[in-house]
């Protein structure tokens, strides 16, 4: 089959690779009909996430048709149409029972690598380094999906792929970000980053009762999308625009009730990247650039909530913990507990409350993917979201 492979930092190639095969009794093989490039794929592209290996297949947002199932898969059969969550969960461990699906104990074959870096391992992820499981990703024509009884969401209606594809990651991720923001009716919510996750965080904040959403970015096309959802926007790249001043001005001087950092470790700044030697040598982790996180902690009102859906990988330097303590804030963060959100959000799509396809700007083939990674990283061509048809 054809697949998009990571061949090193800033090196992506479309190659011909072997087809995946059933390995475990709860596996399914999915023929992928649509897949996407995620903002967090850029962390792999830019080499921020350790334990990538040349040849690894990229991609963790995908959907398709069930091709084949293992002997213990009971709720799916060949021909079923499914969206696959990017986190893999077993359904039976303590964390799955608590619905902390992204914390599943049993799906990362390389859990020891995560334990070395983080103390404990989260669930395995598709196409997101060996530390996160070493599973092949979905920017390919087929994928092996473990624990298919638990993860994939069946699409029974004839909704087009593009309306449901983002249930595989960014829509639930944006929704969980808004839920983690502990929004009360009428609250003001500030969202840093109007990329796909930011967009869905904005939409979800309104769904959860926010009175005002302030969207912060520098790209006109993204800011326009945010305004189309009803957000007010702040363009931090404009001369004289200071985000903290803007947020005070827009909140009567008290600051937003909730701040959502939908940017993560690649926040733009001119600061040099530090390296924490010990961890770097142990697991090749580099420190992140917590520019947005610093700003969010400063901007949040006293007693407010900072929600972090943006991906951070390693060790953060100079996080204003004194401010966090002094204001008595709450912080909530983490990988998305996908399995809890997919079905309810599908219902919102079916009821026409939201059409997630509004963020798509580019529709491409697998062969075009390597070039599009660069476009996506550099935010050229007014790109807002790239969807791949693996069979085009």
């Amino acid at each position: 089959m054809k697949a998009v492979c990571w061949m090193g930092t800033h090196k992506i190639e479309t190659q011909t690779v072997p087809d995946p095969e059933l390995v475990n009794p709860h596996d399914a093989i999915i023929k992928i009909t649509k897949t996407a490039i995620c903002g967090s794929d850029l962390h792999l592209y830019d080499g921020f996430i350790p334990t990538m290996e040349s040849g690894d297949i990229m991609g963790h947002e995908f959907m398709g048709i069930v091709e084949e199932v293992g002997k213990d898969v009971t709720n799916l059969k060949r021909g079923d149409r499914v969206v696959v969550p990017f986190t893999i969960a077993c359904g039976n461990c303590l964390f799955c029972k608590k619905k902390l699906w992204a914390a599943c104990d049993n799906t990362n074959p390389n859990a020891h690598l995560m334990e070395a870096a983080y103390g404990y391992s989260g669930s395995g992820l598709f196409g997101y380094s060996h530390m996160m499981g070493g599973y092949a990703g979905g920017q390919a024509q087929y994928a092996r999906v473990p624990f298919a009884n638990v993860g994939p969401l069946k699409i029974e209606s004839d909704l087009p792929d593009e309306k449901v594809l983002f249930l595989s990651d960014i829509f639930p991720t944006g929704y969980q970000a808004a839920e983690n923001a502990q929004i009360l009716p009428g609250d003001t919510v500030a969202v840093w980053g109007c990329g796909p996750v930011g967009q869905f965080a904005i939409a979800s904040a309104f769904m959860l009762g926010a009175g005002r959403v302030i969207a912060i970015d520098r790209l006109p096309e993204r800011l326009a999308l945010a305004r189309s959802l009803g957000a007010v926007t702040v363009d931090y790249s404009e001369n004289d625009t200071d985000v903290l001043t803007a947020l005070k001005d827009l909140t009567g001087g008290i600051g937003p009730d909730s701040c959502i950092d939908a940017v993560g470790l690649e926040g733009h700044s001119t600061e040099l990247q530090g390296v924490y030697d010990k961890i770097k040598t142990a697991v090749m982790l580099e420190t992140d650039r917590p520019v947005v996180l610093r700003q969010a902690i400063q901007a949040i009102r006293k007693g407010g909530t900072v929600s972090v859906p943006g991906v951070y990988g390693g060790l953060l330097d100079k996080v204003p913990f004194g401010a966090a303590f002094g204001k008595g804030i709450t912080m909530k963060m983490g990988q998305t507990n996908m399995h809890s959100y997919m079905k309810p959000l599908l219902e919102r799509i079916e009821q026409n409350q939201i059409d997630p396809s509004y963020i798509i700007s580019h529709r491409i083939t697998l062969d075009q993917a390597p070039d599009m990674y660069k476009v996506w990283r550099d935010k050229k061509e007014n790109v807002t979201k790239i969807v791949i048809d693996p069979w085009a």
Binding site: P25, E53, C90, N92, N106, P109, H130, G134, A136, P146
Partner: protein, 213 residues
């Protein structure tokens, strides 16, 4: 913890040992390596009753499904079995005897007349609040040539092997299978691919757990 007074080994254990983690409410650190002996203690919270998990562990003939490098286990008596281990091309056979067997609570065993000497104890303890069972595994090795070979050839220390074995036991008990990504399709690995696989421990074959078809 009174059940732990019995020693799992022919050798004298450190004063605090047995696999116990608590003694009279006080936390006991794991035994330290000394005199050529390597100690490993690892624990897992496993969903399931102590009785069921004990029963799964006690079926030693199933060990190849979840223990690394175990090719075959032949039961030779009520408390004895013969283990065939495979490390790359090398095949190694050893006999094992169960020294203590308390259904639903504890198993202790030791190898018989083999190099490297290996002994172990597993304890099944109900966790608080219906959260499952604490499975506590204590292993002791004498580092023979084989132990050294594991480390150099396979990128996995004997200590890590014990940790992985318990992790695999947990996955096997909770889901009926063991997570697996070693056969994932991929593009060209290039020159340093093999080195990385060794670094990640991906050269060690994942126990089968169960078959897909």
């Amino acid at each position: 913890m009174s059940a732990l007074n019995e020693k799992p080994n022919a050798e004298t254990l450190p004063a605090s040992s047995g696999g116990a983690i608590l003694q009279d409410g006080h936390y006991l650190a794991p035994p330290e390596d000394a005199d050529g002996k390597v100690w490993v203690r690892t624990t897992a919270l496993v969903q399931g009753t102590p009785q069921d998990l004990y029963a799964l562990w006690r079926q030693v003939e199933k060990a190849p499904l979840w223990q690394e490098h175990v090719e075959e286990v032949v039961v030779t008596g009520v408390n004895t079995s013969t283990w065939t281990m495979k490390y790359g091309e090398k095949v190694h056979t050893s006999n094992s005897q169960i020294l203590a067997d308390e259904p639903g609570k504890r198993i202790a065993w030791s190898s018989v007349d083999t190099d490297p000497h290996e002994a172990g104890e597993v304890i099944f303890e109900p966790a608080t609040g219906d959260r499952g069972t604490f499975v506590i595994l204590l292993m002791e090795f004498r580092r023979g040539k084989l132990a050294a070979a594991w480390e150099s050839l396979l990128g996995r220390s004997p200590k890590q092997r014990v940790i992985e074995d318990l992790r695999h036991f947990k996955a096997f008990a909770e889901t009926g299978e063991i997570p697996h990504s070693q056969t994932a399709p991929h593009g060209d690995r290039g020159l340093i691919g093999g080195m990385k696989r060794s670094l990640y421990g991906e050269n060690v074959p994942t126990p089968a757990g169960a078959v897909a078809r």
